[in-house]
Amino acid sequence: MASGIPIEISGLSKHFGPVTAVDDLSFTVQPGKVTGFLGPNGAGKTTTLRVLLGLERASAGTATFDGTPYSALPRPLETVGAALDANFHPGRTARNHLKVYATATGLSSSRVPAVLEQVGMSDYADRRVGGYSLGMRQRLALAYTLLGDPGVFVLDEPINGLDPEGIKWIRGFLQNLAREGRTVLVSSHLLSEVQQSVDEVVIIAKGRLMKSGTLSSLELDSAPRTIADSPDRPALAAALEAAGLEYTEGRSGFIVDEPDPARVGHAAFVGGVELAALHRLRSGLEESFLSLVGGGEES
């Protein structure tokens, strides 16, 4: 097994004509941990990974594996295993797909049955990929990453399309890789999809870094808030304003920037407003994630 080495993204920008997909992005991914690379669709995750893997050219900045760009790695598949999209020639079997690339990179074809076994695809190895489900394609894409037994894994939305059993399986799979000291970077647009398997998070939105740190640090970021609702919303709004409380109007009432529901209740009492709901807004990871990526206003 190759040892895990850090992934280093430094000042990375990528423009497509007038559109900026990645904007001066810098972060580091350390070995021995599963790092979630999170952001909404269109945030620039896939573009960042494609630049990192030498498939697209950076407009500025660098993306390297411990200082070496992908195209300069002497044995790329034995250093980095990457699964970006589960696309295959539909007429080729899983076994032959893997053989083609084992040959291309000078690996023994004895690795092919081994990695098919690792991802639980041995029974389907000689079927043409055209008949595969999305989940089976995802597993075959993972088998490709394992061919060279690399120390670094870069996986773009690997959980997408997996059934509950597959999701459980991949969580164990990712954590095993990290426990062995490998570097594991997993992108997703849903925090909930990966929050049980990642140790670290890198969150981006509109191509910019919003946060990078441990998963638990994300939890501490968000201050709890209070939800209050009334049959007479204009009156409640007036009462909150009179008490100097900041709020936004949501579907199920006002979201008040005040951790203590008692203070909000008091403001309503002072204003003589009947309350229909009053409770603390349970602030989870998902909320702080959404507020970071700018999706919070939609609630």
Partner: protein
Amino acid sequence: MRAIGSEFQKVFTTRMWWLLAILLAAYVAFMSGGLGAFLGWASENPDAAASAGGSTTVPPGTELAPLIYSFASSVGYVFPVLLGALAVTGEFRHKTLTPTFLAEPHRTVVLSAKFISQLVIGAGLGVVAFAVSVGAGAAALAAFGLDTGLDSSDTWALVGRGVLAMALWGAIGVGLGVLVVNQVAAIVIVIAFTQFLEPILRVVASLSDVTASIGRFLPGAASDALVGASFYNIASLGSTDTLEWWQGGLVLLGIAVVATVIGGATTWRRDVS
């Protein structure tokens, strides 16, 4: 070498190669066997052929054997071009450039491997095509008691040059595929150019001396020059001076190299998304 091995595996792990090989064999067998039989019959019964409106009677003194055997390349060359083009466009169509470039980040190595492997596979298709054209053609000629030319070294030199032509057509396919990466567009261009445009251009070019000297450089004309015999030459389509056989070969090689280099510097360098 690894990259070349990988490219061979890519071709032989899908069904397209043997589908095209079977179609090629059937097409060439039909043309060589069928026309061999017809021309054999016509040369035996010139009056009947003339009264049947057979304007395709062969000028006296023409050897039938090379003409009939050369059908392998003069009608079969479209198959290595298609296979070569599909080797490139298939990667774009099925989005397999991602795993390909992850396994070999040096893109020039991948394209060179495609070029070389399709040269070899084109030669393989050439062997199949000439085996069929010589087999079916010689059988038809022998049935009418005509000279099959199988004991002549000229015949076998023609077969050798024909196999070389088919190899070069495979490489031209790679060049076309990397210039026109859209698979449907590449197939349409191959069919339209080889089956309609080039034959028409060759006829039109033969109308005047100036255009005829340019028309000799059309890829199909160059290929026929390389092989040394063609139905077109007999059927008075471009019956003017052809290139020397080696000049024809260089024209084909030049087209293959120039197209591949231009494609390699443009579409092949682009971001893979």
